[in-house]
């Protein structure tokens, strides 16, 4: 078992609000780790800590360490852009850029200096195929990405994330804005992607966590209540609060 990300005594504050408290967690390579918990429990804040997206919030302060592939991503003089490249992120609402499908996909490689048109073509085709979108869009690469359906837009965003060759992909409730059919396509895709990537997914939907994840962490009020294999968490939770949450007593 290879550990890809190790979170050690991690704390985070938004101003006065102590949003994450002493988080310790190990995330295994090429597995899907699901984060569940009620709204406001800190699960989105947590995965945004894994690629330092919380840096964009001015009042955010952190304490503790997160090690990715052996390096501490909260080290002072670390190049945060390298971390964000290697730890990609797919957001709650599909957020394609207002440009063509092709330009959306080639955006990542281009900002990292790739100019060769042939190489870009290849990346576009490869990542769209990986995101199971190529067959649907290969004849309209020059059309605006915002003309695609919601589910297609979300797969486009997944393809866009793949272009910069990440090791880890973070999904922040990727299906909450999608219909059931699009949701199941994304779930199939996540199952395929874990062969090559480590996946962390925040979800509101417990069935989804049960369907696609190998490990599940239950967050409540900024703390990890329970973390274990998905089977154990859903069939035989150790903590009363976990049981109450997954059986729908609160949430």
């Amino acid at each position: 078992m290879i550990i890809n990300i190790r979170v050690s005594d991690f704390n985070l504050w938004y101003g006065e609000n102590h949003a994450l408290k002493d988080i310790n967690m190990e995330i295994e390579k090429n597995k899907v780790t699901a984060i569940i918990g009620p709204s406001g429990c800190g699960k989105s804040t947590f995965i945004r800590s894994l690629n330092r997206m919380n840096d964009l919030v001015p009042s955010c302060i952190t304490k503790g360490d997160i090690f990715f592939d052996g390096m501490n991503i909260y080290e002072k003089d670390l190049d945060v852009y390298v971390i964000r490249k290697r730890v990609g992120m797919v957001f709650q609402k599909p957020n394609p850029f207002p440009m063509s499908v092709y330009d959306n996909i080639s955006y990542g490689p281009r900002i990292h200096g790739e100019k060769n048109k042939k190489k870009l073509d290849k990346i576009v085709e490869y990542t769209l195929k990986s995101a199971a979108l190529w067959d649907e869009v290969n004849d309209r690469l020059d059309d605006p990405a915002l003309g695609l359906s919601g589910g297609q837009q979300q797969r486009l965003c997944i393809a866009r994330t793949l272009t910069v060759k990440p090791d880890v992909i973070l999904f922040d409730e990727p299906c909450s804005a999608l219909d059931p059919i699009s949701t199941s396509k994304i779930e199939d895709l996540i199952r395929e992607l874990k062969e090559r990537y480590t996946i962390v997914i925040v979800t509101h939907n417990m069935q989804q966590a049960a369907r696609i994840s190998d490990y599940t962490a239950f967050f409540l009020l900024g703390e990890i209540i329970e973390f274990g294999s998905t089977l154990q968490i859903f069939e035989n939770p150790n903590d009363k609060r976990t049981e109450d949450y997954i059986t729908g007593k609160f949430g």
Partner: protein
């Protein structure tokens, strides 16, 4: 009976709203017809070609050619809007993307305040400070020039460009910035390649509004441009004094005898101004539609 009364009331409200809605169309039509009626005579009497392209505007001889005024307006507009773009768009980027809230809260109202200063006050400042410093810097006779007009009107157009571009940039959804940053883009790459292209229709709108503002400005420009209807040589000579279309109307209207050729010629300038502004508006709409088509959102 009751239902009937309700229907009448409903209809009445609808009609009132309709009248309110079309009143602006009526006003603009009225202005157009009025200007045409008073200005048409100038085109007939001077000859369309001579009136628009004639290089001399002299009331002493009764020669009215608008070319020096048109080129004057053009030079001042290009200079002023160029100045406002170069200074205004970076300010808008700073305000919306980089300024800490404390600085933004001071800067933004200050910029808006610039907009409410009466243009004659700008004219004073122009005469006292701008003309003398231009005179001393460039060794000019008295500083009156297209350059002075460009700088002064550029400052006046700044708030339009800054506030509208700032709003357009701020309105770009946070998701897009995050999407870019999450790919490892730097802040500047994100601004340049995602945020600005997403805000481009708003930025273009701010520029076109600034053009409209500069083109229509009269009082301030009258005080610094020199008010001589002379064709600049070479035609892009910003250091010469000259005149603009609006300033010419304002300076001669008081003394023009009603019904004279001079009077009608001044209205003729107004007709041309209105046509130019209308064309600009149509272009603005076309650009907006094109951009929306390209990025696929309204």
């Amino acid at each position: 009976m009751r239902a009937n009364f309700k229907n009448i009331k409903e209809k009445l409200i609808e009609d009132l709203l309709f009248i309110a809605a079309i009143s602006s169309i009526v006003v603009i039509l009225f202005i157009f017809i009025f200007l045409m009626k008073e200005g048409a005579f100038a085109f007939l009497e001077n000859g369309v070609f001579n009136f628009i392209f004639g290089t001399k505007w002299r009331m002493e001889t009764g020669t009215y050619g608008m070319a020096p005024l048109i080129i004057g307006s053009l030079l001042v507009t290009i200079g002023a809007v160029g100045f406002a773009i170069v200074l205004g768009i970076p300010s808008a980027i700073f305000l919306s993307e980089l300024a800490p809230p404390r600085i933004g809260n001071i800067l933004k109202p200050t910029v808006e305040l610039l907009n409410s200063i009466p243009s004659i006050v700008y004219g004073f400042i122009g005469v006292v400070l701008l003309l003398t410093s231009l005179r001393d810097t460039f060794d000019m006779i008295d500083g009156h020039s297209f350059l002075a007009g460009s700088i002064l009107l550029g400052v006046m157009a700044l708030p339009t460009i800054i506030t509208i571009s700032d709003d357009a940039i701020t309105a770009v959804p946070k998701d897009l910035r995050e999407g870019s940053m999450a790919l490892g883009a730097t802040r500047w790459q994100t601004i340049r390649r995602v945020v600005l292209p997403s805000a481009i229709s708003g930025i273009m709108a701010s520029i076109l509004l600034a053009i409209g503002r500069v083109l229509g400005e009269t009082m301030a420009i009258m005080l610094v441009v020199g008010c001589v209807a002379r064709f600049p040589s070479p035609f892009f000579n910003f250091f010469q004094s000259g005149d603009t279309m609006t300033a010419r109307i304002a300076s001669e209207m008081g003394e023009a005898a009603r019904g004279s050729l001079q009077y009608h010629s001044l209205f003729g300038i107004g007709v041309l101004l209105l046509i130019i502004v209308t064309v600009l508006n149509v272009i603005a709409d076309l650009i907006r539609v094109r951009i929306q088509k390209k990025v696929g959102r309204g």
